[in-house]
C-alpha cells in the first residue's frame, strides 16, 4: 500500500494506492489464479471514520483512490484498513503532512 496525505489549508487530501490483482471469479479463471480483490476500505483519523467504501472486483488492478476530508490537522495519523474477499486484513498508518 502506498499512502500519501497532505493538508491544504483546512482540507486533507489523500492519495492511496493498493496492491491487488482485483480479479473477480471470471477474471481469475482466465488468468488461472485465485479470486482476489479488495472488498472493503476504511480510513480513520483518531478513531473517527473519514472514508469508507465497499468495492467489487471491477475496480482496476492496483487501484488508486483519491479523497478529501475536513477536520484533521498536520501531524495527525491517518490509518487505512483494507479487507479483501478472502478476509485478509492489511492496515497502514501515515502522518498527515
Amino acid at each position: 500500500m502506498k499512502l500519501k496525505a497532505k493538508m491544504k489549508k483546512d482540507i486533507a487530501k489523500v492519495k492511496v494506492m493498493f496492491k491487488s490483482p482485483m480479479a473477480g471469479p471470471e477474471e481469475a479463471e482466465k488468468k488461472k489464479i485465485k479470486p482476489e480483490f479488495i472488498a472493503h476500505i476504511i480510513g480513520k483519523v483518531g478513531g473517527k471514520t473519514v472514508y469508507e467504501v465497499s468495492t467489487s472486483g471491477f475496480i482496476s488492478k492496483n487501484p488508486l483512490f483519491k479523497f478529501q476530508f475536513k477536520g484533521a490537522k498536520k501531524g495527525d495519523m491517518l490509518e487505512m484498513t483494507v479487507t479483501d474477499n478472502n478476509g485478509k486484513v492489511t492496515s497502514e498508518s501515515k502522518k498527515i503532512k
Binding site: M22, G24, I42, E52, S54, F67
Partner: protein, 150 residues
C-alpha cells in the same frame, strides 16, 4: 423528581449520540450481500435502495466519453449535496456493482477511482441524501478495448 428526569434525559442523550456513530460504519458487503451478485444496474440499485428513481443533475460524474483502455477508466464523483451514501454501477461486466461509499457526516464528496469495463455501457451513480431524497447521474462510456482480463 428532578434527579430522575435528569438521569433519564442523560441516558437518552447518550443513546442519541451513539446512533450516528453506528450508522456511519456501514459495510455494504455485510449489510447488502445481494446487491454484489446482481447482473444489471437496475436490479442492484433496487437491492441497495429499493428504488431506481432519483433527482438528476445534482451529482457531478466525471468520466471519459471514450475510454481507450477499458481496464482503467478514471471516474470522479463530486457533489455539494449532503449524501449519506453513494454507489457506482455499470452494465458492462458480469456483475453490476462497482463501489459503494458510506459517507461520514460533514465529509467532502470528491472521490476518484479507476474501474474496469468490458464493453460500452451506461455508468450510473446513485446516492441517498441525509434529507431522504435520492440523487442520480447516468453517463454513457464508450470502451474501445475491453478491460476485465479480456
Amino acid at each position: 423528581m428532578e434527579r430522575r428526569n435528569f438521569l433519564g434525559f442523560g441516558a437518552a442523550a447518550v443513546a442519541a449520540s451513539m446512533v450516528p456513530a453506528s450508522l456511519v460504519a456501514e459495510n455494504f458487503r455485510e449489510t447488502k450481500p445481494k446487491m454484489w451478485q446482481e447482473a444489471t444496474s437496475a436490479g442492484a440499485i433496487k437491492d441497495m435502495y429499493g428504488t431506481t428513481d432519483g433527482i438528476e443533475g445534482k451529482i457531478k460524474l466525471k468520466a471519459p466519453k471514450l475510454a481507450e483502455n477499458g481496464g482503467s477508466i478514471p471516474i470522479n464523483i463530486k457533489t455539494s449535496v449532503d449524501l449519506e451514501s453513494v454507489a457506482i454501477f455499470q452494465d458492462a461486466n458480469p456483475r453490476s456493482a462497482v463501489a459503494a461509499f458510506t459517507i461520514p457526516e460533514g465529509a467532502i464528496i470528491n472521490y476518484d477511482l479507476r474501474m474496469k469495463m468490458r464493453k460500452t455501457s451506461d455508468v450510473t451513480v446513485i446516492g441517498k441524501g441525509r434529507d431522504g431524497k435520492m440523487y442520480k447521474t447516468v453517463q454513457k462510456v464508450e470502451v474501445s478495448i475491453g478491460g476485465c482480463g479480456g
